[in-house]
């Protein structure tokens, strides 16, 4: 319940922004554009859902972009060069990425290291491994890929809800249910509120840490498969910088970066806001794509400043000098 106000603000920003865009370019308000927006940001929505869990638990995962890159290359090579059936390749890569995340979580917990630096090493490792597999873009021609790309539900107004958009929506909804309705989800919040308190209350901190990073990497693996559907290729340089986009989506979605508060729905709205900015810039035509970065940065700042203000407000009656403590 506490997480509601920031999510509401995110929703208002999204609606207001969309209204402004639609006023300038009436064509934006169509199911076609919305359908494309969901398709283009499907992998981001999936990976940001995992990032939400990590950040609410008080951690951060910088390796997700590299895991996506590795997944696309692995899947492409497995299907095209090694002759593995696509489904087997998918299962293998998901097991591999889950194990990778579990390993990072274990290192973070066992050696008591900052998640930031451990996942940074993970980022190097996964990106380096994908370079080792192949530095070239490997096109995927398996029939499954064309079947999946062609599949789409018609929405009223001619929009297409593609398969990968549906996968994303299912994962977002599943993630929201997992976070808000299960014991696992409650433990994630407890961990982010305070590890010590959580541990005293009987949460198995170590197991939870491993599971949370496993979930994040697993979702990054799924995002990688979705990305390979999206581009029909595997490329070791794909999804560079996606970790930043997904962190930005989580923050814009009202999740507290110090942990303990947030929601998957907010993150989803954050992804939509980033997609909306991109769509606006595409429609405008004269603005360059780098305005996306500046706009995202401004939004990031606005939302973090807002959080900071709310936190300071909440703390005021207890202590007077909350400034330097971080």
């Amino acid at each position: 319940m506490k997480g509601l106000p920031p999510v509401l603000i995110t929703a208002i920003v999204l609606v207001a922004g969309f209204a402004l865009c639609a006023m300038q370019f009436p064509n934006i308000a169509s199911t076609r554009v919305v359908g494309n927006l969901l398709t283009d940001n499907a992998f981001l929505g999936i990976v940001a859902t995992g990032m939400t869990f990590v950040i609410i638990s008080g951690g951060i995962d910088l390796s997700v972009g590299s895991v996506i890159g590795f997944t696309t290359v692995f899947v492409a090579l497995a299907i095209e060069r090694w002759g593995v059936p696509p489904l087997v390749a998918f299962v293998a890569i998901l097991a591999l990425s889950a194990a990778f995340g579990a390993a990072m979580g274990a290192v973070i917990h066992v050696f008591d290291l900052p998640p930031f630096i451990v996942t940074l090493a993970g980022m190097f490792l996964a990106r380096g491994a994908s370079f080792l597999l192949s530095t070239e873009s490997v096109p995927i021609t398996a029939p499954v890929y064309s079947t999946v790309s062609d599949f789409a539900l018609r929405m009223p107004g001619g929009g297409r809800l593609t398969a990968i958009a549906i996968i994303m929506l299912v994962i977002v909804i599943g993630g929201a249910l997992l976070l808000h309705l299960t014991r696992f989800g409650a433990n994630v919040y407890a961990l982010g509120g305070s590890r010590v308190t959580a541990s005293l209350m009987g949460v198995a901190v170590g197991k939870m840490t491993v599971k949370i990073y496993m979930l994040s990497s697993l979702l990054a693996g799924i995002a990688g498969i979705v990305f390979s559907f999206y581009t029909s290729a595997g490329y070791s340089l794909s999804a560079v910088g996606v970790e930043l986009d997904s962190i930005a989506a989580v923050v814009i979605g009202g999740t507290l970066l110090t942990g303990g508060q947030g929601s998957v729905i907010g993150t989803f709205l954050g992804v939509l806001i980033q997609g909306m900015i991109q769509t606006y810039i595409n429609f405008d035509g004269t603005l360059s794509s780098w305005w996306t970065k500046i706009a995202t940065g401004v939004l990031l700042f606005a939302f973090i400043a807002l959080q900071q203000g709310l936190v300071a407000l909440a703390r005021r009656p207890v202590t007077k000098s909350a400034g330097a403590a971080s």
Partner: protein, 330 residues
């Protein structure tokens, strides 16, 4: 301090020697130096020259990390300042170009420092904003193009030589001495360490922790600006997309290799620069050995993990730190 240094830096120096030896095996001419047109040439000089941007970044980064912070924006700041320098180079003199670029770095550092010290944001988050937006700003300055220039003054900054050494190396050395003189010649270094060790206790003991935090981010911005100018001068152009890309990670890695704890509270400038040199020696070695440069990332990942595990209180069993941690947990 001087008595402490060799003991603390032993591992790093040994690591550098081992990597140099490996490089020598890979490439027999590795240690060859020759003097040509009053300038030294050779792989060793190349390592120093190529290592300059990361060494400069690590000089600022090490102070930030000593306050228990982190600055993710240094790569983006490099891009901004390189872009400014490149676009002014052909119409203005070197002093104006340098002043504008370093001034921009200072403003970027001030912004980061303001967010962390005054608004109390987590450093990772605060500097993430500029990391995301900074490249956009840099492209705003270059208008999305790669800006090239031919100003001989600025080119000299990247490719000239002083007393046989490349100018960037001399600049980095100068910055190391300057930074060292300021923070170790006064109590400043101690106060920075105190801030990182326990900000609240230091504040109560009368240390101006906000001023400390603000000033380390400003210094980090200035160092990044200088690195950006040198990187631009080196290629005689500014590429807003790729200048300084991922260098923030290299800088953090250099600091960590240099034995500075990410938990704040102690730092060594010399060892951070040594860390930067270790990274560059590895890079050069991998290039010379004929392995694909992509191999670098894997090697770096392994090195980060190894150093982290050695640093980890639970792994090395450093009784003092372990006890401190246990106390805070209880």
């Amino acid at each position: 301090m001087t008595a402490l240094l060799p003991r603390r830096g032993l591992a790093q120096i040994l690591a550098l020697i081992v990597i140099l030896a490996v490089d020598r095996v890979v490439s027999p001419q590795f240690f060859d130096l020759r003097l040509q047109d009053g300038r030294l040439f050779g792989s060793l000089i190349d390592v120093l020259n190529r290592g300059t941007p990361v060494a400069l970044l690590s000089l600022g980064m090490v102070l930030v990390i000593a306050t228990r912070g982190i600055d993710l924006s240094v790569g983006a700041v490099m891009a901004i300042c390189g872009a400014i320098a490149a676009s002014l180079a052909d119409s203005h003199g070197l002093p104006v170009v340098l002043a504008a670029a370093l001034g921009a770095g200072l403003v970027c550092g001030l912004w980061n420092g303001f967010l962390v010290a005054v608004l109390g944001m987590q450093p990772i988050v605060a500097t993430l904003i500029l990391m995301v937006a900074g490249r956009g700003i840099a492209q705003l300055i270059t208008e999305g193009r790669i800006v090239t220039f031919s100003s001989p003054d600025l080119v000299w900054l990247g490719n000239g030589s002083v007393l046989g050494l490349p100018v960037p190396v001399v600049i980095a050395l100068g910055m190391l001495i300057l930074t060292g003189a300021v923070v170790r010649g006064s109590a400043l270094g101690l106060l920075i360490e105190a801030t990182g060790g326990n900000a609240r206790a230091s504040e109560l003991a009368g240390v101006g922790t906000r001023a400390m935090i603000l000033s380390v981010y400003v210094w980090c911005g200035v160092c990044a600006a200088l690195a950006g100018v040198i990187a631009a001068a080196d290629i005689m152009g500014a590429d807003a997309n790729n200048a300084g890309l991922w260098l923030e990670l290299d800088a953090i890695l250099a600091v960590v290799i240099g034995g500075t704890s990410l938990f704040g509270g102690r730092f060594s400038l010399v060892l951070a620069v040594l860390g930067a040199l270790i990274i560059q020696t590895m890079n050069t070695g991998i290039l010379l050995s004929g392995y694909p440069p992509e191999f670098n990332l894997l090697v770096k990942a392994v090195v980060v993990l190894a150093v982290l595990l050695l640093q980890s209180p639970k792994f090395s069993g450093l009784a003092g730190i372990a006890a401190r941690l246990r106390r805070t947990k209880a």
